[in-house]
């Protein structure tokens, strides 16, 4: 088997099991209260980390580029209570414009 297929199969198997673990093994079961209070904080901490890694991450760690301006523009749109679609469009358009300059 080629290296490519090995990687595709192993990564696929891991990812499928990660995603299935909760819904398949624990579905409908009430998690202990202490665990629930841990998971309440998963969304804020994980979403914040995704914002950071996706607006600054790149080859070799931190890359400052036009994305940051786009995300800044998105932040203003969010602050002005723009709908989700507008927030995303503002981010993309601003980033594209900065790259044109």
């Amino acid at each position: 088997m080629s290296a490519t297929w090995l990687v595709v199969l192993i990564v696929g198997a891991f990812t499928i099991s990660f995603k299935a673990a909760g819904p398949v093994l624990l579905a409908g079961r009430q998690l202990p209260a202490r665990l629930t209070s841990v998971f309440e904080l998963l969304a804020p901490s994980l979403l914040a980390a995704l914002v950071v890694t996706q607006s600054l991450g790149g080859k070799g760690g931190i890359v400052l580029d036009a994305r940051l301006v786009g995300v800044g523009a998105a932040a203003v749109a969010i602050w002005l209570r723009a709908p989700l679609i507008l927030v995303v469009v503002v981010a993309a358009l601003t980033t594209a414009l900065v790259r044109l300059l």
């Binding site: 909760g22 093994l25 624990l26 579905a27 901490s45």
Partner: protein, 217 residues
């Protein structure tokens, strides 16, 4: 179709074009690094997680070993284990149904399904995933079979669409002081680790921040 299904469609629509364009980009990258025609499409259909797929392809491109490519991609996807356990109680029905619905968990579908307080709406997640899945796999095929005609997604600023979506959803889920603290801590940990750690590690470390929830309120 219920209101929840429509809401799922409405919420995922804004990022679908960005997702498709990165699917095309993955297809192009995968063929240029010599992954062939079928393997990238199978990877999109099974792994269905953009960042891990890009990571695996670029490690192979850099001449990295199989182990290095697997470790990079698996680390990036380890967050799905935490997410899947956290939202397990939202899933119901037969084993097969729970299995297939669980495969629709991706950052974007999970993010748009947030109801606050750590809970998600399964119907919104499933609808969003059902939109993204064929879009991602189809776009990969498009990229493999000559997506070189289209420009890079970066040219259109589409790489900024994802952090913008996550920021908007972050703002909508953060209400209490504990949630604000978790968001700030998660962001700070990710930022601190980003320059040094392997891809995937900053996000996992930030997710571990929620363990402070073990402390009494």
């Amino acid at each position: 179709m219920t209101d929840k299904h429509l809401e799922g469609l409405r919420r995922i629509a804004p990022v679908t074009p960005a997702s498709a364009s990165f699917g095309i980009a993955f297809g192009i990258l995968a063929t240029t690094v010599g992954m062939g025609v079928l393997a990238p499409i199978v990877m999109s259909a099974t792994t269905f997680a953009g960042s891990a797929q890009f990571a695996a392809a670029s490690v192979l491109d850099d001449g990295g070993s199989i182990a290095a490519a697997v470790v990079a991609a698996v680390l990036l996807n380890a967050r799905y284990l935490a997410i899947s356990i956290a939202i397990a109680d939202a899933f119901e029905g037969s084993l097969l149904r729970r299995f297939f619905e669980s495969q629709l968990i991706v950052d974007e579908s999970w993010a748009v399904a947030q109801r606050g307080g750590g809970r998600i709406d399964r119907r919104i997640l499933v609808v969003a995933g059902l939109v993204l899945y064929p879009c991602w796999v189809g776009a990969t095929a498009l990229g493999v079979f000559g997506g070189g005609l289209l420009g890079k997604p970066e040219r259109f600023g589409l790489d900024a669409a994802f952090p913008a979506l996550f920021l908007a959803l972050l703002v909508s889920v953060v209400r209490t002081r504990r949630e604000i603290a978790a968001a700030l801590a998660g962001g700070a940990v990710a930022l601190a680790l980003l320059p040094f750690a392997k891809p995937g590690v900053p996000v996992i470390a930030a997710a571990a921040i929620c363990l402070v929830g073990l402390w009494k309120r």
